[in-house]
Every structure is written in structure tokens, then in C-alpha cells.
């Protein structure tokens, strides 16, 4: 299963006990209560699903839109 924006949104929402529609593209995800531990787990999950971006890169960004851009810019080498 390839990584999609909607998949990422659903993963984030599940981590913070929210419904996917509670996580908008431009909301600060840290403000929603995402912590380093959960971000680490998401990073590991998403790397398996097709991105080369790592924890530090995600950590410097804060919205789903930025993350999606990052994922698109850094596809996993085939």
C-alpha cells in the first residue's frame, strides 16, 4: 500500500485519539498533542510505506501539508 496524504492523516488522527477529519492540512500537529514518541512511530511506519524522510526532517515541520510535501520530495529509493 502506497503512502497517501489521506493515509498519513488517518495515521496521525489515530495516534492522538481523534477522527481523521479533525486533522486538517495546515493545523500544527504538535499543537494537537503529537509527541516525539508518536512521531517516531509514524516515521518508522511511513518509511516502510515509501519515504526516505527521517525523524529529524519531520520534526522540523509541523503540518500535514508540509509532511506530505516532504514525503513527495523524498521517495524511497526503489
Amino acid at each position: 500500500m502506497a503512502l497517501t496524504l489521506e493515509r498519513m492523516r488517518a495515521d496521525v488522527a489515530a495516534k492522538i485519539h481523534e477522527e481523521p477529519d479533525a486533522v486538517s492540512d495546515h493545523e500544527n500537529l504538535m499543537d494537537l498533542g503529537l509527541d516525539s514518541m508518536r512521531l517516531m512511530e509514524l516515521t518508522l511506519l511511513w518509511r516502510e510505506l515509501g519515504t526516505a524522510a527521517g525523524f529529524a526532517e519531520f520534526a522540523e515541520k509541523s503540518t500535514l501539508a508540509e509532511w506530505w510535501a516532504l514525503v513527495q520530495a523524498r521517495p524511497k529509493a526503489a
Partner: protein, 1319 residues
């Protein structure tokens, strides 16, 4: 050119971020505290390329601006800037040292423990210690103001990354950003609406939160060090944590945080725990990869739901953690201020849970690494830390504040907490999880209770007694008031009566009442009833008739053995009086067995309804045979019977002698309450063994007749034996002292403790279980507790009562099934107790003595233990009084020990108890009231006097002065009372700083801002001021020379010529402790401008003493020039409308006498110093100059005088010479009161003009006294021995005249408020 507000290189520096401000304040309060030096080292194993490593570290340092920060205080507040110089990696080669590792560790410790001058010293240091060919330690030390824990991990990893790149690994990523990013982020947040929202959220989240508590009460302020217990967590354990949490959509840090809350709550009690949760506060932005200090420690409330499914509850905590992170940037310090949780021990949170999954050892190619954290910042209370991740293993560290926890307790918490986590992974609910670890549960449920011991299980008590009596028929069995019975006679008389009783219906499990005073007949009756197979029921003739009737109705005795004259009291109940007892006859053997009743004793329930406790033979046989064997009771000894039969202690007194072949000596009725009668019996009857309730023991030890008594053993039980009673016992009586404990429901006693002279335990434990007996300390869910945690005391084993007579409901309630031994019962004592680590039990009072104050559950026994623990009181009782409806106040009643000081006691309690536990009233009593059983009578404790609104006690001079400053700083209309709390009055941290400054100015001492923050009351701050070492130590204008009764008005001693009051030390010591004694010293010694006239001086001094003693009389005395000052001050005070009490002049003469005389030479002035320094100048050689004077003072050990800095000594000389001029220029004003003059009787032979009468011109009345000394000797210890009693007598007469209750000096409340209003 506009200035860049974030330019850290600007010479003026930049303000601190909010995150740094809190740390700065902590460090500023305690500049010598090195605990903010965060230190760690990376253990590197393998072939390290030192040059490459140095290059890597250097590169990291070059890109990390935070490592170059310096800090200083400016009038605008603290500022930080970047120093131009970079720290460099220092390499230490220990490879040839005998013990390279120890050498390196010692250097690291020394570096970490060194407090920094933050303005000058490098705030970061990096050392590489080479230990061997393949081993090195990389040490990093950075002040917390520069980096937080996450920042530390960033720089460590970065150096490793650079090293890897240098060794051919992947290229290191981009450099760290500039530190200005942190300032920008801070400014942005401060100005944002977001901050306000976070603040509002934080306040709402803490709404209604209880007082935050640690796992032990006391002041949670970080010291300079901490205890640490480290445990390695195996990957399997972490994997289970991770799996458990993942299956519940949480993370393992969430799970561990939740369980830490549950664990902490087990120790704090109450419904919830408030943890501090360090939060990195930088994810998702420019700070995510910036080494800086950004961390925050917001509070998290965790409410354990014991009954909920663990996963469900965890989900809730996980959600509250998410909410906390959303709002977690709002500074905890700000929230604490918003919530008013500053000062007085009020805290925002209890222990910390710090989880740093990223803080693991970084990888370097070809090397193995291990990370060791030396210090990660302040430890206020207890910090639970996890470092590392769940895949590779992590480290758990328990750090504790040594002021609160011992090293052993810290280790025990580490093990127990991990066991708690383990247990949680298997448990369905928190309710299934005991606080004790499995190892502790085994120890405290099983090991300490391994008391199985054989005893005669097939015999009744009377069987065993008869066997013993018949072994030695001629031996003396019983003595009473000169009468005596042999074993054979006792056997015959009891047999005869038993036959009659049987005839009248006595038999197994039937009850026969006994209502006889202590006598031969009483003993015969108790044995005869048992021989008849029945159980005896003691009835007290002193009990109220209604109660007596109730007991008789409940027990329905087949018969009552009573005196003929008591017929009326027992009307309607069949009786047999001693004159009807047969003297011949023999009871047939009874069918009674060990399972039948031996006696029934009624106790009072909490409802007042008497409950009849039924004790079977096997229970009491176990108890008595244990006692006989354990203490080695042997034939030929004597036991005293003095306890009333209705009190179950009497049971062993009555029967143990007969079981051991000893003689029982029965004390006359009433003797048990008369210490001198008891002492006489003990001596005359050569008593070996006797019993006291601790209260009665205390009274007995106070009686003159108890001195030097010699006995074999004394047993105490019935109430708590105090450490003081133990010590007084051994100081006065030669013999063993044993502390026993047990309720009537468990056959007299179930625990024992030898209270030997070598035992220094406080509290004195109740000790270990007796044979075939179990003790449990359990929580409210009947789960085992570890050592040190108070719980309900339960008893199990052979000694338990059958139950309550006629009350199966009550029996079922109080004797539930033993949760740990199927088929057996336990008894719920209603007492609180805790295990000591050595397996001895400590008694902490009744659980119904638990009260709720400010929502906090408080054990009164714990407060009593804390009071006794100070050693300031011999006995203590604490009760929660509700003298005003709805206002519950804790009142402590203490019997003072030598050296008792109410203020000191308050201060000591504030250091060891939570604020809500500190009694609001402290009443000293000569003795605590006792009831008829010799136990504390709580109902008879007097009510403290309650004031309407005003302070509960008068202020000391320091307190009054401080109150003035507080009123000034807070702009209050009136000075607050000594119990007032600065922060509750409206103070905040800024105002606290201002108050600190004013204190420094006014007192010449600097207790530090910290003292204001930590103190619950002005009284406490005043105490800290007194205790503070000031820069002007000993030179302050008002120097406390001797502390005395704060109730009595103090006396002020005006300095002689030199301006110093030190020469008065001997006099001060002699006048205290009846009152406090102060010296008035020249303010010019501490930098003030010298006075232009003696009038100006007197006015200044009068103002100082008037402020220090706001009401009541002011007592003054002065020697030499000091006497002239006293008269001038007295005149000024009278003009102000103040009353002058004693005004004593020690060989002083008015100004006009001196005007016509020559000025003293320098030699004379120098000589005068010898006296000023408190030495006898007549013994001194001629002194030509200052050097000779100093040499002489040093040779004689001239006290602190020789330590004076030269400029101060210079000042003293100046004051001395100036004083002469002042006196000569002085015009006396009339003092409209009485002066007391003491003439130096041996002096002035050549100067008959110096007469006391000269003062008549300047006062209304003059009292003339004389002391046989020379003028310079008047303040020497020899003269003081004569003069002090003269002054004391006059001062005392003065106090008496004013205060009719002055004899009652112990009571804080005894002072009649009217006394204060006579001014």
C-alpha cells in the same frame, strides 16, 4: 541603526527566555549550588581516533552557540550574551595512572560539583579521558541555562555524527541553527494569544487540584546533590511495555507516566497524584534541532481508577497527556504564580517522570558506546527517569532529594517501582496490584510472621496453673497488705469456691461476673471461676451504673461475685458475697477445654456501646506461655498486680506468677494511681516485674520516690511508649523496659519490643509478633504495604478472640477472613502502623484519629511522631478541634523537654510535615491529662484561646520589624501578624525580591530570597533572618545576644564608647532565658554616617527599639557611656508616649561631669577596648598602640574582636573617640521615670565627685545600688554574677506587676491580650 533584539553578541546582552528565567531564579537564590551543572560521559570502547574525535567535537562546539553563553544580573534584569571564546576539548591521559577509571571519575565529579560564576566561567566543558588503549570517557558538562536534556542529546549525537563522517561514514548533515532562533520563538510565544489560551487551559486543568505532595512529607527544595538508583531495563521488558501500550493505542511513555502516577498516589494518599512531566516544547519548528534550553515541566494530574480495566484507564491518561502537550509551552513557573502555589511549601507538582526515548548512546563506527548521566538538573523531590528506547534497552534512574529520602529508600523505590510496572503488565486492574513488590510482600506477609511455635494446646489456663501450684505446695503464692497464702492454701480455697459455683450453674462458656476490689478474694474468685469451668467477667465498681447495668444485661452472668455492701448496685442479679464462700470442698474436674472461654472483657466501642470480647483458653495460654518462656520468668520472683481487672493487661498480672511458680503481690486498691505508694510497694515487697501504661510511667518517673529503683523488668502497653519515656526510664530506674502492644481482641498483647538503653528508635516500635501470631500492614484494599508506608494494622493467629458476645454482626465486621491464609480470620485493629525495614512494626495511632484538613487526609499520630522526633517535647498529643463551627484547626499539646522552644519546634515541623499537617496552635502543658485507666484523656485537653482576627501570639522584635517591612512592600494598612503568609497577603516573586532587599538593609543580614519562598509564615522568615550569616555579622545595630522567652519583653543593652555591644555577652547570657537580650550597636560600624549629637543618636536608637517592641514596656541598660545613652533614650521614649520599664545605668555619670575634664588619651582609649572585648583590663599590660592591643587580645583569645577587619577596628576606635565628644556636648533632657544606678564600688577612690546622685537632676526617681568592682570590670563574668540577679529581680517584678499569668510561661496562649495594650 536599529538594535537587533536577538543579537546575542551585543555587549549589553539579551534578556533571558521564559524557559531560562525560572532556572536563573533558582540559581540566583543559591549561587553555590552546582546542581544545575548537567554532566554526563560517554564510555567509548574500541580504537578511538583521538585526533578525529577532537576535530568532531571542535566542529560541534563551533556550530553550537549555546555553549558560549554567559549570564549576569543587571538593573534591568538578568542578561545573556555569547562569549567570544569557544570551549575546547581537553584531553586527560590517565593511561599510566594506577586506577585510570577512578582518576577520571574523580576529575569529572570535581568539575560537576564546582559552582560556576555564570558571568565569567565557561558554562560548558568537554574533556576526553583516556583510560587505556581501547577505552576512553568523553565528559560533557553544560549549565542547564544553556542546554536542556534534549539539547544535550543533540550535541552529543552531533559530535558522533561528525566523527563518523570523518571516519568515512555518510556526510554529516547541516549545521545547527543560530541561538537567536530560540529568542525569536520565545518572543513570538510571549506575544501570542496562544500563550493566554495555554495559561487559561493550565489554570482550568489545575482547578480543584489537591496540594501537590511528594512520596514523603517535607520541604521539596533541591539541595546540592541527589541519591541515585540505576536499573538496566532489558529489551524484553521494554518490548512488553511497548506491546501492551500499542495494543491500547498508547505509547510506552504514556503507560509508564500513567503507572508512575498510580505508584506515587499510593504514597501520597488522596484521590490523585500531581506529577511534573518534563516536556521538550520544541517539536515541529525551528527549535526541533536547536541545542538550547526550552524544556518545561508542566503539572499532570493523574487520578488512578483502581477498579477500571487498566487499558481503559490508560487511554484516559494518554488523552490528558495529549492535551497537556497541546498547552505545554506555558511555563510552569508562570502557572505556579497564577495558582498562588508559591511559598509556604506549596508546590505545583510532586515527583517528576522524565522519559527521554532519544537519550541513548550515539553510534560511532568501530566503537562501542555507553552513556552515563552524572546529573541532569535539580532534584526537588523524586525523579523517575527513563532513557533510551524500547528496542535497544533503556536505563531507569531513580533520583531523590537527600533531604527527603535516604539512599536505601531510593534503592527500594527503584526496585518496587519496576516491580509495580511488571505487575501492571499482568494485572487486570490497578486494584489487583499491591504497592509492595512481590519480594516485599513475601517478607512482610510471610517471613516476619514465621512465628509458629509449640505451646500446650490441650490444656486450659487453670489446668496449667493447678499443675504448677501443686509442684510446690508450700511456696508463697500470694501477698496482699501483709497477708499471705501458700500454693496449697490457694488451691484449697479456689477449689472450695469452685465447687459452690458449679453448684450454682457455672460451667463451660458460662459467664460469672466479678465485682471485687483488689484483694485476696479477687484472686481466689478469678481462679475459682475457671476451676468451675466458667469464664470470668470483670465489672468495675467505678463505672457509671448505666454502663454496668448494660454490661450485665448483655453478658447475663449466672452469678456475680461481689461485696455485700454493693448489693444495691447489682439488684436483680444473683450474687455470692465473700462471707458466703465455703472454705471446704473440692470442685469436680470440669469439662472445659482449650476452645472454651477463659474470660470476657468489655471494651468501649466508638459508639460508646460496650462490646464484650470473648477470649478462649488457647488464646490466653499461648500469650502467657510465650511471655514466660520469652522473658524467662522463674520461681522465686515476684510480680506486682496493680492493673484494674477490667483492663486486659491485668490478665497476665493475675496469672503469670502462678504459671511460673512465682509469688503474686497484689497492690492495695487505689495504689495504681499513686506513684509514691507504688514506689514504696516496689521497694518493700521486692517486686521484680510490673506494668505501667506509658502515661502512668511518665508520672511515676517524675515522682521523687522513683529515683534509683531497681527491678527486673517493666512492661509498658496500653498506649504509645515514647522515646523520651524510654530514656527517662533508663536514666532513673535500673531494669529492663519492654514495649508490648495488643488489643483486648487478641488476648492482651501480640507484639513485643525490647526498649533497651541502647535502643534509640523514635518512635519506639511496637516490635515483632509473639508466638503463633501474624501482623499485617495493609491498605484499604487489603493489599500488602512495603516498609515505611502507613496502613491499617491487622492481626492473625491463635490469640484472636472468639468474637463479641452477642454481636455476630460486629464480629463478622471486625474479624474478616484472612486474605492470605484461606480458612483463617484476621482482626482489624483500627490502628495505623507501618513496617520498619528491619521487620519491626511502628504504631502510628488510631485510624479514627485521621482527619481531613484542607482536603488532605492527615494522621494525627504522624504529627505526634514528628513532634516527638524533634526531641523538643517529652510527650505530645494532637487533635483537630472545631472550636469555631466549620473551622477545623490542629492543636498540638506538648509537654516540653529541656530546651523547648515553641518557635524552634514550629520551624522543625515545617521542615518535616506538609503545610496542612502543621498545627495552628501549640500548647505547652506541664503534663497531659489522664483518665482512670491511666491513658491520655483527649476530652480533657484544654481549648486554645482563640483571637478574633488578630495574630494568635505576640510578635518577637524581629517579627515586628519584619512585619513593618512586609506592610511597606505590600502596601498594607497594618503590619501583619507573625503567622501571616507573605504570598497569601499578595506577595509575588518580584515583591519577594524587593522584600529581600529591604531585609538586607534593615537587618544587615541576607537570608536570601529563597528564605521568603520557602517560609510559610513571617515568623519562619524572621527565624531564617536570625539564622542567616550577614555580611555585617555581629555588627548590626540590633544584635541578638541571647534568645529568651518570646513572651517576656526583651531588654536592650546600649553599647559603651566603642560602639560594639559584644562585651555584654556574659550579662546577656545571665539575663536569658527569662527574656531575649539585644545589644544596641553604633550603626556607623556598618556604614551609616556617624551621629552629629548624642540626642540624634538617642532618637535613632529609641526609634529602633520602639519598632522592635511595638507594645508594652521597654527595658534598657547600659554601662559607662551606654548608661548616658540609656538615660537619653528613656527621655526620648517617654516623649513618644512609650513606657520605659527598667532603665539601668552601670557606673555612668551625666554629661556635665565630663565637660570640665581632660579628653582621654589614646592609651586610655586602647585600654578601654580590653573591657569592650569582654576581658579584664586590670590584668592587661600597658598598651601603647593598636598593634600591642591586638597582640594582647590575640594572646588572650579576645574573641571575635581579633577577627575584625582593620577598617572595622578603625571604625570602633573612631566611634570610641567620637563618643567622648558626643557625651561632652550633650544636654540632658529630663526622664520622668525611675533610673536604677549601679556604682562600681571599688572605683573612684580618687574621684569622689562621681556619685549616682548626680542623676537626680535628670530623672523623677533614682534607685542606688553598688557592686564591689572597678569600673572597667563591671561587665566581666565575675561582676555579672552580682549584677545580673539585681537586674533580673527588678525586671521580674516589673513583669509580675503587669502580667498576673506570668507564672504560666509555657502556654503560647496564656498571655492576656490586655497586657499588650498598656503602652
Amino acid at each position: 541603526m536599529t538594535t537587533d533584539p536577538f543579537d546575542l553578541t551585543a555587549p549589553q546582552g539579551q534578556p533571558l527566555t521564559e524557559a531560562q528565567e525560572g532556572l536563573w531564579r533558582f540559581q540566583a537564590m543559591d549561587p553555590d549550588n552546582p546542581i544545575l551543572n548537567a554532566g554526563q560521559y560517554l564510555e567509548i570502547l574500541g580504537p578511538l581516533d583521538v585526533a578525529a574525535f577532537a576535530e568532531a567535537v571542535g566542529g560541534m562546539i563551533a556550530e553550537t552557540e549555546a555553549l558560549r553563553l554567559r549570564f549576569r544580573e543587571t538593573p534591568q534584569g538578568p542578561r545573556q550574551r555569547l562569549a567570544p571564546e569557544f570551549p575546547a576539548l581537553a584531553v586527560h591521559d590517565h593511561r599510566r595512572a594506577p586506577d585510570p577509571e577512578s582518576a577520571a571519575l574523580a576529575m569529572m565529579r570535581a568539575d560537576s560539583d564546582k559552582p560556576l560564576d555564570l558571568a565569567r566561567d565557561a558554562t560548558a566543558a568537554f574533556h576526553l579521558h583516556l583510560l587505556g588503549p581501547e577505552r576512553a570517557f568523553w565528559y560533557e558538562r553544560v549549565h542547564h541555562l544553556c542546554l536542556d536534556g534534549y539539547g544535550m542529546a543533540l550535541v552529543t549525537d552531533r559530535a558522533a555524527e561528525r566523527y563518523a563522517a570523518l571516519k568515512g561514514g555518510p556526510a554529516a548533515g547541516p549545521d545547527f541553527g543560530p541561538l537567536r532562533l530560540a529568542l525569536e520563538a520565545d518572543a513570538e510565544y510571549r506575544a501570542s494569544a496562544r500563550r493566554e489560551q495555554d495559561a487559561a487551559w493550565g489554570r482550568a486543568a489545575m482547578e480543584g487540584a489537591p496540594e501537590a505532595l511528594g512520596m514523603k512529607p517535607g520541604r521539596a527544595v533541591s539541595g546540592h546533590g541527589f541519591h541515585r538508583a540505576t536499573r538496566l531495563l532489558p529489551p524484553e521488558f521494554l518490548a512488553r511495555l511497548r506491546d501492551f501500550s500499542r495494543s491500547r493505542n498508547a505509547t510506552w511513555p504514556d503507560l509508564v507516566t500513567a503507572l508512575t502516577g498510580a505508584y506515587v498516589q499510593r504514597f501520597t494518599g488522596g484521590p490523585e497524584a500531581v506529577l511534573g512531566v518534563p516536556f521538550m516544547a520544541r517539536l515541529g519548528g525551528s527549535l526541533a534541532r536547536l541545542p538550547c534550553m526550552a524544556m518545561n515541566v508542566p503539572p499532570l494530574r493523574i487520578i488512578p481508577d483502581e477498579g477500571a480495566v487498566l487499558g481503559d484507564w490508560l487511554k484516559g491518561v494518554s488523552k490528558s497527556l495529549i492535551a497537556l502537550r497541546r498547552h505545554g509551552r506555558y511555563r510552569a513557573e508562570a502557572l505556579r504564580r497564577d495558582l498562588g502555589r508559591i511559598g509556604g511549601g506549596r508546590r505545583l507538582h510532586g515527583p517528576l517522570i522524565n522519559i527521554q526515548p532519544f537519550d541513548s548512546a550515539p553510534k560511532m563506527p568501530g566503537l562501542e558506546t555507553r552513556l552515563h548521566i552524572l546529573s541532569a538538573g535539580a532534584v526537588e523531590d523524586f525523579t523517575f527517569s527513563f532513557r533510551g528506547d524500547a528496542h535497544e534497552g533503556a536505563i531507569f534512574e531513580a533520583d531523590s532529594n537527600p533531604a527527603l529520602y535516604s539512599a536505601e529508600e531510593t534503592e527500594a523505590h527503584a526496585d518496587r517501582f519496576l516491580a509495580f510496572l511488571e505487575g501492571a503488565l499482568k494485572a487486570e486492574r490497578l486494584a489487583d496490584l499491591p504497592t509492595a513488590s512481590p519480594a516485599e510482600a513475601r517478607r512482610f506477609l510471610i517471613d516476619v510472621n514465621a512465628t509458629e511455635h509449640p505451646f500446650p494446646t490441650d490444656r486450659t489456663l487453670i489446668d496449667l496453673i493447678l499443675d504448677k501450684l501443686r509442684e510446690n505446695p508450700k511456696a508463697e503464692a500470694l501477698r496482699f497488705e501483709g497477708l499471705s497464702l501458700t500454693n496449697a492454701e490457694l488451691d484449697a480455697r479456689t477449689g472450695a469456691l469452685a465447687a459452690k459455683l458449679k453448684e450454682l450453674g457455672a460451667g463451660p462458656d458460662r459467664v460469672v461476673a466479678v465485682a471485687l476490689p483488689r484483694s485476696m478474694e479477687l484472686i481466689v474468685a478469678l481462679l475459682a471461676i475457671q476451676r468451675a469451668g466458667a469464664a470470668y467477667l470483670p465489672i468495675d465498681l467505678e463505672h457509671p451504673p448505666a454502663r454496668r447495668k448494660r454490661v450485665l444485661d448483655l453478658a447475663a452472668p449466672v452469678l456475680t461475685l461481689r461485696r455485700a455492701e454493693d448489693a444495691e448496685a447489682f439488684a436483680g442479679f444473683p450474687a455470692l458475697t465473700p462471707d458466703q464462700w465455703p472454705t471446704t470442698g473440692e470442685a469436680p474436674p470440669s469439662a472445659t477445654g482449650p476452645e472454651n472461654l477463659a474470660y470476657v472483657i468489655f471494651t468501649s466501642g466508638s459508639t460508646g456501646e460496650p462490646k464484650g470480647v470473648m477470649i478462649e483458653h488457647r488464646a490466653i495460654v499461648n500469650r502467657l506461655i510465650w511471655m514466660r518462656e520469652h522473658y524467662g520468668f522463674a520461681p522465686g520472683e515476684r510480680i506486682l498486680q496493680k492493673t484494674p481487672a477490667v483492663f486486659d493487661v491485668s490478665v497476665w498480672e493475675f496469672f503469670l506468677a502462678f504459671l511460673s511458680g512465682e509469688t503474686l503481690v497484689v497492690a492495695p486498691p487505689g495504689a495504681h494511681r499513686d506513684p509514691s505508694a507504688l514506689a514504696r510497694i516496689i521497694r518493700e515487697e521486692r517486686i521484680d516485674t510490673l506494668h505501667f501504661t506509658p502515661s502512668m510511667l511518665s508520672a511515676f518517673l517524675a515522682a521523687p520516690e522513683s529515683a534509683g529503683l531497681k527491678v527486673k523488668r517493666v512492661f509498658c502497653s496500653g498506649e504509645e511508649l515514647t522515646a523520651d519515656q524510654r530514656e527517662r526510664f533508663h536514666a532513673r530506674i535500673s531494669g529492663e523496659l519492654h514495649n508490648l502492644y495488643g488489643p483486648t481482641e487478641a488476648a492482651v498483647d501480640v507484639t513485643f519490643w525490647p526498649a533497651t538503653p541502647e535502643d534509640h528508635s523514635s518512635p519506639v516500635p511496637i516490635g515483632f509478633p509473639v508466638w503463633n501470631t501474624r501482623l499485617y500492614a495493609l491498605d484499604s484494599r487489603l493489599r500488602p504495604l512495603p516498609a515505611g508506608l502507613a496502613g491499617d494494622l491487622y492481626l492473625g493467629g491463635v490469640q484472636l478472640a472468639r468474637g463479641y458476645l452477642g454481636r455476630p454482626d460486629l464480629t463478622a465486621e471486625r474479624f474478616p477472613p484472612d486474605p492470605f491464609r484461606p480458612g483463617e480470620r484476621i482482626y482489624a485493629t483500627g490502628d495505623l502502623a507501618r513496617w520498619r525495614p528491619d521487620g519491626a512494626m511502628e504504631f502510628l495511632g488510631r485510624s479514627d484519629h485521621q482527619v481531613k484538613i484542607r482536603g488532605q487526609r492527615i494522621e494525627l499520630g504522624e504529627i505526634e511522631a514528628a513532634i516527638l522526633g524533634t526531641g523538643l517535647a517529652r510527650e505530645a498529643a494532637v487533635i483537630a478541634r472545631e472550636d469555631q463551627p466549620g473551622v477545623k484547626r490542629l492543636t498540638a499539646y506538648v509537654v516540653p523537654a529541656t530546651g523547648y522552644d515553641a518557635e524552634q519546634l514550629r520551624t522543625a515541623l515545617a521542615a518535616s510535615l506538609t503545610p496542612a499537617m502543621i498545627p495552628s496552635h501549640l500548647l505547652a502543658l506541664p503534663a497531659l491529662p489522664l483518665n482512670v485507666n491511666g491513658k491520655l484523656d483527649r476530652a480533657a485537653l484544654p481549648a486554645p484561646a482563640l483571637e478574633e482576627g488578630g495574630p494568635s501570639r505576640p510578635a518577637s522584635p524581629e517579627e515586628a520589624r519584619l512585619a513593618g517591612l512586609v506592610a511597606e512592600v505590600l502596601e498594607l494598612p497594618h503590619p501583619p501578624g507573625p503567622e501571616a503568609d507573605f504570598f497569601r497577603l499578595g506577595g509575588d516573586s518580584l515583591l519577594a525580591m524587593r522584600l529581600a532587599l529591604r531585609i538586607r538593609e534593615a537587618f544587615g543580614k541576607d537570608p536570601g530570597v529563597g528564605a521568603i519562598f520557602d517560609s510559610a509564615s513571617l515568623a519562619e522568615i524572621a527565624a531564617r533572618i536570625l539564622a542567616a550569616e550577614g555580611p555585617a555579622e555581629g555588627l548590626e545595630p540590633l544584635l541578638l545576644l541571647a534568645k529568651g522567652d518570646p513572651e517576656a519583653p526583651p531588654i536592650f543593652l546600649a553599647h559603651p564608647a566603642g560602639g560594639l555591644g559584644w562585651g555584654y555577652r556574659a550579662l546577656a547570657k545571665a539575663l536569658a532565658p527569662a527574656r531575649s537580650v539585644y545589644a544596641l550597636q553604633a550603626p556607623s560600624l556598618t556604614g551609616a554616617a556617624p551621629f552629629a549629637s548624642l540626642d540624634a543618636l538617642a532618637e535613632d536608637y529609641a526609634a529602633r527599639v520602639a519598632e522592635a517592641v511595638p507594645q508594652g514596656p521597654i527595658h534598657l541598660a547600659g554601662w559607662s557611656v551606654g548608661g548616658v545613652i540609656v538615660q537619653a533614650m528613656a527621655a526620648r521614649l517617654a516623649e513618644r508616649g512609650r513606657e520605659v520599664g527598667l532603665a539601668a545605668l552601670l557606673d555612668s555619670y551625666p554629661a556635665e561631669v565630663w565637660r570640665g575634664r581632660l579628653e582621654p588619651s589614646e592609651a586610655e582609649a586602647l585600654r578601654a577596648f580590653v573591657a569592650i572585648a569582654g576581658l579584664d583590663p586590670t590584668e592587661a599590660p600597658p598598651l601603647a598602640n593598636r598593634a600591642e592591643l591586638l597582640a594582647y587580645l590575640r594572646e588572650k583569645g579576645g574573641g571575635p574582636m581579633t577577627l575584625l577587619p582593620p577598617e572595622v577596628l578603625e571604625g570602633v576606635v573612631k566611634v570610641a573617640l567620637g563618643a567622648n565628644a558626643l557625651v561632652r556636648g550633650h544636654e540632658h533632657r529630663r526622664f520622668p521615670g525611675r533610673l536604677t544606678h549601679i556604682r562600681a564600688g571599688l572605683d573612684h577612690q580618687n574621684d569622689p565627685g562621681l556619685q549616682a546622685d548626680l542623676w537626680l537632676a535628670h530623672c523623677a526617681a533614682l534607685e542606688k545600688l553598688e557592686a564591689p568592682f572597678l569600673h572597667p570590670q563591671l561587665v566581666s563574668p565575675a561582676a555579672v554574677a552580682v549584677i545580673a540577679p539585681l537586674l533580673a529581680e527588678r525586671l521580674k517584678a516589673f513583669d509580675k506587676e503587669r502580667d498576673p499569668k506570668s507564672g504560666n510561661r509555657f502556654s503560647d496562649q496564656s498571655r492576656d491580650p490586655q497586657n499588650k495594650e498598656n503602652a
